[in-house]
Symmetry: C2
Subunit: 126 residues, 2 copies
Amino acid sequence: MKTSRRTKSSIAIEEHFERNERAFSVVELVEHFADSMNKSTVYRILERLEEQGKIHSFLGMNGLKWFAKCIGCTSEQHIDIHPHFQCKECKQITCIPVASKIPVLENYTIESASILLVGRCEACLE
Amino acid sequence: MKTSRRTKSSIAIEEHFERNERAFSVVELVEHFADSMNKSTVYRILERLEEQGKIHSFLGMNGLKWFAKCIGCTSEQHIDIHPHFQCKECKQITCIPVASKIPVLENYTIESASILLVGRCEACLE
DNA sequence: TTATTACTGCAACTAAGTTGCAATATAGTG
DNA sequence: CACTATATTGCAACTTAGTTGCAGTAATAA
């Protein structure tokens, strides 16, 4: 059994998600921590935090990977399938706090689902 | 006004979608047409066919781009937001012919939505 | 304090997707 | 049919997200 260690870097990233209740793209995070840690380290820490259920990931509209911490994140599982909203203009993604259930379909065994809503956020509508 | 031309290559790809009523990843298409046309050409033709509303695109679970032709595809617009199902095992994506409406949310202007269901297809359940 | 091994930095790599440009081919016109 | 304008293509070089192997570093349990 591999135990996970709390390092300076992993704590920094974890706290970053706690202080900022929004989603971040990996690119943004790599950039933000550029002078305190390496690119691969960021990727690996995010991977670990997700495995521990501390954050969850999803894809933005161009296939970029995003991460966010939200109330639904537990170490057990991510039953909470909430939609994500991405603004076409500023690219920012927001978790929509609406629990939507996974649709049931015959002939398919569905284990997870991701819903991405694309549009324009309030700030970008002016 | 730029008119679009029907070339040997574009016709080949279009017919490919007509003959096979399933989704293809770009990687698969580039590979399939490797000895009759160039990688960039495939990308550019797909882009054009999508603009013309002949096919539609979406992202698979690893951010790979997929294309498919479906009944809902019209040159006007893609109101038809149907979910896509991807099998974890064989990676194949299928269009689910169920019209699901875009959720309405206050504070957000939603223009489009994508729903990806992930699980295991019948063939891979054995 | 020490030993184990999880974690990190680095540099090199993979793979998807893009781009500029010169050459080619399509479609409209006379 | 011949001719022209320009949409399309091939090519090669590039960009960028994400991955990997390995040697060195640092948590953590004893």
